[in-house]
Every structure is written in structure tokens, then in C-alpha cells.
């Protein structure tokens, strides 16, 4: 009886020759590319050029989810909206009084500065933008906004909202910009406790929070203490809310504690942001 076995089923082991030369060349090529990219940041430049193509694609990908969220908002009950309007009207009334006070203080401050001869160190140029999508790019959180180079947005600019610090611009194209949220692992911001006691650097932990890995045990800090930007380095204006202490953990060193901070604003809890550039 003739056994009808295919060639493939008879082939137990792989008898092909390995393309060793090609493999070595490609391996070296990949390693060189990685090394060059690490030093020259080529991929970021390529991504910046490609963002004209990629951003609309990302926008379209997230469109169904956005429509779902938007449609959910549409179905909010009338009573709830009325209540919200009432609260907002009250808040608006209070804020208008505060604004008047601020105007008064501003003019008073200007007079005092002029009298004392203090120079104005910086002025803020801000651009309001809308978040197109807080998205995930292969595990890394990135927020995309609808303003770019056309609106004078620069790489490195601070991004805030009405709650506090949101992040920093890491990539810009003509019409879009990408923000690294403050909770990203690569993020660091000089901060100060709002009672002006401790100057520290806060690091994002990549897990929705910030931390100070080594905080001197002798310094006084307690849960619910608030951190604001210190203005050191000149990148961020002083006094922007960052977050509050949620946990103080001991470390392996008895001299230091690890401080966990929860940010005041999370990428999923807002839609509008303000990009600020400090002009010397």
C-alpha cells in the first residue's frame, strides 16, 4: 500500500541553512540603529514627521470610544444639568468677587514692584487646547492635544488645567502635540510643599502617582500635605498644584522615607488643558 505522505510531514528537523551572514549584518545594523537613536533621538524626529499621518489615525481609532463617552454625556438628566448650572452660577459669582480682589492686588503689586524697583522675571504665554485622546502607545500613557507648532507650542512647555499640573509637551507637529503626563516614569518636577518648608523633586512612578524615593526622615511631612511647583529651573511657574501626600513608607535606609503622592489631575478626568510657555 502506497503511503501518501507529504514532503512536509516527513521533514522532522529543519534542514535549511541559516542565513548567518544576513543575520549578523542585520543584528549589527539593529544595534547600531539603537545606539544612534539613543544618542541622536532619531525616532522622535521621525515620529514627529509621521504624526501628521499618525494623529488622525489615532484619532479615528479612539473615535468610537469618544463618541460613546460623548453620547453618555448627552443623556445626563435635565435636573442634573439644572443643579450644575445653579452651582456654577454661585461659583461664578464668588469667582467674580475673587477676580475683582485679584485685579486690585495685581495693580497694588505692580505699584509696589515699581516702587521697590523689582523686575518682572517672566511673563506667561498660554494656549488653551483640547485633549483629543488620552491614549496608550504600547503601554506608555500619552495625551494628544489639538494644538501644535502652528499655535507656538514648544517642546518642554508645561501643561496645566484648572486642577493643577498635567504634564509636559514632549512632541509637537503642525496641528497636534503630545503630552507626557506627570505620572509617567520619565517625569520629574521640582516642587515645594505649600507651606514653603521643603524643596524636593517629584518623580512619576508610571502607575498613576508621583513619589519622592528618598525623603529625609528628619524633615516633617504628613499625609495630605500639598505639593506645588517650586519654579526652580524656570520651566514651570511657581505655585501650580501638583498633588498631595497619600502615603509615607519607610525605606531600607533608616534615614530616608519614600513619599507617595497622588496628583490633583488625572488624564482621564479632564478635557481642556492650558499649555504655558515662560518668556524671559
Amino acid at each position: 500500500m502506497e503511503r501518501n505522505l507529504s514532503k512536509d510531514s516527513l521533514k522532522l528537523f529543519n534542514r535549511d541553512s541559516f542565513p548567518l551572514v544576513s543575520f549578523v549584518i542585520l543584528l549589527i545594523l539593529c544595534l547600531v540603529m539603537m545606539g544612534v537613536d539613543y544618542r541622536q533621538q532619531i525616532l522622535k524626529k521621525i515620529k514627529s514627521k509621521f504624526s501628521i499621518v499618525l494623529s488622525p489615525i489615532t484619532y479615528l481609532i479612539n473615535l468610537p470610544a469618544d463618541i460613546f463617552i460623548d453620547s453618555k454625556d448627552v443623556f445626563v438628566t435635565k435636573t442634573l444639568l439644572k443643579e450644575k448650572i445653579e452651582i456654577l452660577q454661585q461659583r461664578n459669582y464668588i469667582l467674580s468677587i475673587v477676580a475683582q480682589e485679584n485685579e486690585l492686588l495685581k495693580s497694588e503689586n505692580k505699584i509696589l514692584r515699581n516702587t521697590l524697583g523689582i523686575k518682572k522675571y517672566f511673563n506667561l504665554v498660554s494656549v488653551n487646547a483640547e485633549i483629543i485622546l488620552p491614549n496608550v502607545r504600547n503601554g506608555y500613557s500619552i495625551i494628544t492635544i489639538n494644538k501644535g507648532l502652528k499655535n507656538n507650542i514648544q517642546i518642554g512647555s508645561a501643561v496645566i488645567n484648572n486642577a493643577g499640573l498635567v504634564g509636559q509637551i514632549i512632541n509637537t507637529s503642525k496641528n497636534y502635540s503630545e503630552i507626557m503626563p506627570i505620572t509617567s516614569e520619565d517625569y520629574a518636577v521640582p516642587a515645594i510643599m505649600d507651606n514653603n518648608k521643603e524643596n524636593v523633586i517629584l518623580y512619576g512612578n508610571g502607575n498613576g502617582g508621583l513619589e519622592i524615593p528618598l525623603f529625609p526622615e528628619s524633615s516633617s511631612i504628613s499625609v495630605n500635605d500639598n505639593f506645588v511647583t517650586s519654579g526652580a529651573g524656570g520651566l514651570y511657574p511657581k505655585g501650580i498644584n501638583i498633588g498631595r501626600v497619600v502615603e509615607i513608607k519607610s525605606t531600607t535606609s533608616p534615614r530616608f522615607n519614600s513619599i507617595m503622592i497622588t496628583p490633583v489631575s488625572q488624564p482621564t478626568t479632564f478635557t481642556q488643558v492650558t499649555v504655558i510657555n515662560i518668556k524671559e
Partner: protein, 157 residues
């Protein structure tokens, strides 16, 4: 004809991978806990249709993946050719025929590629938690199983 079919399935699954890489898994708050769809796809194709993906194509695909989701140019190219190498060596020394063996090899290839990903990331200053890598490799294995079903369903004669 067969190769054309494979290519079409590959392009479709590649586009799906791009889409899914840009959206988190529904209901999961931690956005970083998601599978690496590209590693899953290449593993599934390497184990199913070895003829279609040669070493040069893998590097080119790796570069495209880098542009879409990568952090370092050439990193995915390196990962993919490592998958190719490991698969080739294993095929030389072992007989991989049963489904269980293929799935085990798939898991081994995924773990190997994540090790390469972790090593290259850490050596270039991109910190990735090792625990996260472990969870991602399990999720990637699940993605690989799903891709495997698709490839088998749409490329069989």
C-alpha cells in the same frame, strides 16, 4: 496564491495590532497592562507560516513597528530576528509537531522576546518593571493564541 493569502492575513492582523496597541483593554485602569500584539503576531506567523517571513522582512516590519509604537529605533527589528533565530535553532534540534509543543514553543519565544525587549530597554535608559514584563508576556501569549486561531482559519487551503 498561498503566499498572497498569507500576506493579506498578515497585513490585516498587523493593522488590527496597530489599532489595539493604541487603545487600552476595556475596563483595565492600568494602561500599561496590555499585550504586545506585534510580538504575538510575529510569533504566530513564525510558528505557522515560516516561509512568508524571512529575516529581511522581519527587520523592515520591526522598523515599521518602531515608528508606530516603539521607543528605540531598531529595537523591534532586533526582537523579531531573535525570534527567528531561536525558532530556527529549536527546529534544528527538536521535533516540534504536536499542538502542545507548538504552543510551548510559542510561549518560550514570547518570553525570549520580552527578555530582549527588557534588556535593550534597560541598557538604553528606558526603565520597564520586570513584573510588568512578566504580566505582559502572559497577555501576549493569550494574544498569540487568538492570532493563531485567525491565521489557521484564514490561511488553510
Amino acid at each position: 496564491m498561498e503566499k498572497k493569502k498569507e500576506r493579506t492575513v498578515f497585513i490585516i492582523l498587523f493593522l488590527i495590532s496597530i489599532i489595539f496597541s493604541n487603545i487600552g483593554i476595556l475596563g483595565m485602569e492600568n494602561s500599561s497592562m496590555m499585550p504586545n500584539y506585534f510580538i504575538a503576531l510575529i510569533t504566530a506567523f513564525t510558528l505557522n507560516k515560516n516561509s512568508f517571513l524571512n529575516i529581511y522582512r522581519l527587520v523592515i516590519i520591526g522598523l515599521i513597528v518602531d515608528i508606530f509604537v516603539g521607543e528605540l529605533l531598531g529595537q523591534y527589528g532586533l526582537i523579531f530576528i531573535c525570534i527567528y533565530l531561536v525558532h530556527f535553532i529549536i527546529q534544528k534540534i527538536l521535533v516540534i509537531k504536536s499542538t502542545q509543543q507548538i504552543f510551548s514553543l510559542g510561549f518560550f519565544l514570547i518570553i525570549s522576546s520580552f527578555l530582549v525587549l527588557w534588556t535593550t530597554s534597560v541598557s538604553h535608559g528606558l526603565f520597564i518593571s520586570f513584573n510588568l514584563i512578566f504580566i505582559q508576556s502572559i497577555l501576549t501569549f493569550i494574544a498569540y493564541l487568538i492570532f493563531n486561531i485567525f491565521i489557521k482559519k484564514f490561511t488553510k487551503n
